[in-house]
């Protein structure tokens, strides 16, 4: 094969969500001078997704989510943004990406930022009008149009999306029922102690939260949903349904190209696939995790942007493992949940502060070492936790449980050498 002398390599990024846009931006900002092509399947300018399930659904919200970058950013930065076009195949030997418009784009380096798709709920009636999922701006617009005139909402799945939508619907005055198959909300995301608090807050806000109950069928009339039947045989009436039962990473392109896939596109600690010319970032990437010692696939803004910056640095010649501390947030009505670090189900949870006040944190320890902090309405704890986790510092579990303990003060203490 003939190397390309003296010209900077061309980078193609598949996916124009938060991770893909970040790769393109950080490459240019880092001094990459070669061509950058950014491919987006959705028709519009890349936009902020987190507000879609939060402010965008609130009464009186701005009509459009903010763009990730202004329209003029792309030409100014010589980023060839192509929207409304889908990558359909990768020719690894020829180093080209085939698009659904029949054209192909050559690459020297390929970054897969394909994101995730909503997991479908495969039950009878899931295709009835009024059964919504939420991922894109188009999804959010369709949901919002119905929220303002519906009277009752059934949410399937008490994950972040389901609970955020439930809180928004209560603000619109709807009767809201949430069904969750597991025994508690946010089962994959937070400790039992925090899940209990979250459940309390939603119930006090008037939401009927029913755990251990899944949907076996939706009922309808003239093609329009009217409710659902649950696994206990109970029937629920609702004129609007939102399904939020998790996501599946978009790995079809990688798998068809012969790259390993296992709950995401498998990448090493530099976020590279076994093909040295191909990386994967964001929701679609399954990476080795310095914080748990295992492999993880994370769905968050922090993961998308930090991994995007990491891959750009790697393409520019940096070589270091990806170790950023993960963080997450969720706004559900008055509940502001912030999470730093990654908890495993076997970790020990210690409450810090009084849950009855609605402001407390749960500190999660593994072998007496702080690994994650879940906070509600205690941003000082969250910020302190990010610092402590990045520095590898830990308070004692006993210390955290003492009344008056402040994670912020602890984080401020000078590190004692030796």
């Amino acid at each position: 094969m003939c190397p390309r002398p003296r010209s900077e390599p061309g980078v193609v990024v598949v996916g124009a969500g938060q991770a893909g846009v970040q790769v393109a931006d950080a490459l240019r900002a880092g001094g990459h001078d070669g061509p950058i092509t950014l491919l987006g399947a959705e028709p519009e300018l890349p936009y902020q997704r987190p507000p879609l399930s939060k402010e965008h659904l609130a009464p009186g919200a701005p009509p459009a989510p903010a763009p990730l970058r202004a329209e003029r950013f792309y030409p100014e930065q010589r980023i060839d943004l192509r929207t409304g076009v889908r990558a359909v195949g990768i020719d690894r030997a020829g180093r080209t990406v085939a698009l659904d418009d029949g054209t192909a784009v050559p690459y020297d380096v390929l970054v897969l930022a394909t994101g995730a798709a909503n997991r479908p709920l495969e039950v009878p009636g899931a295709d009835l009008a009024g059964v919504h999922a939420l991922r894109t701006r188009a999804d959010a617009d369709a949901l919002r149009a119905e929220l303002v005139r519906a009277r009752s909402l059934l949410v399937v799945g008490a994950g972040f999306i389901g609970l955020e939508v439930a809180a928004a619907a209560r603000a619109h005055g709807l009767d809201v029922t949430v069904l969750e198959a597991a025994d508690r909300p946010l089962v994959r995301s937070v400790s039992e102690r925090m899940a209990e608090h979250v459940a309390d807050v939603h119930r006090r806000a008037g939401t009927a939260l029913r755990c251990g109950e899944s949907v076996v069928a939706f009922t309808g009339d003239a093609g329009r949903v009217t409710g659902a039947v649950s696994s206990t045989g109970a029937e629920y009436r609702a004129d609007l349904v939102v399904v939020g039962v998790g996501v599946v990473p978009r790995t079809e392109l990688a798998a068809a190209a012969g790259l390993p896939v296992a709950d995401g596109i498998v990448v090493d600690d530099d976020l590279r696939t076994p093909d040295p010319a191909i990386y994967a970032v964001g929701d679609c990437a399954n990476h080795a995790c310095a914080h748990t010692g295992g492999r993880v696939r994370l769905e968050s803004v922090q993961n998308a942007t930090d991994q995007g910056r990491h891959v750009a640095a790697s393409i520019l010649g940096g070589r270091r493992p990806y170790t950023a501390v993960p963080w997450f947030w969720s706004h559900q009505g008055a509940l502001k949940l912030q999470i730093a670090g990654l908890r495993l189900p076997t970790d020990t949870a210690v409450a810090c502060g009084d849950p009855a006040t609605g402001r407390f944190s749960v500190c999660c320890f593994r072998d007496a070492h702080l690994v994650a902090v879940e906070s509600v309405n205690r941003p000082a704890d969250h910020v302190a936790a990010r610092r402590l986790l990045a520095d590898g510092r830990t308070p004692d579990p006993d210390q955290v449980a003492e009344p008056g303990f402040s994670l912020k003060d602890f984080a401020r203490e000078p590190v004692v050498a030796g």
């Binding site: 987190p50 990730l68 202004a70 950013f73 803004v301 947030w329 941003p379 910020v383």
Partner: protein
Amino acid sequence: MPKVIFHREDGSSDVVAVEAGSNVMRAAVQNGVAGIVGECGGQAMCATCHVYVREPYLDALPEIGEDEEEMLECTAAERDPRRSRLGCQLALGDAASGGLEEVEVDVPETQI
């Protein structure tokens, strides 16, 4: 329409007019003002829309909320005890809706 003037260290500036109900971060991102990132979409979670508000406008600013206070401790460029704010927390509006009708800010050297 509310107006924001973004000043940079090299002496250049951008004047941006936006609809009431927007905020300083959104105004910058929508109009491609360099140096304002807004990574978290305006949720006071990331401190990448840090600005230094110019003196004449300080009295008109809303109180610093608890989230914003903590994130201001995490800014990449040094916090100014009086002038540092997160752009996403500075609502723009008019006499009827509340919010700032006009504000001038300096864009820090770095956000990340």
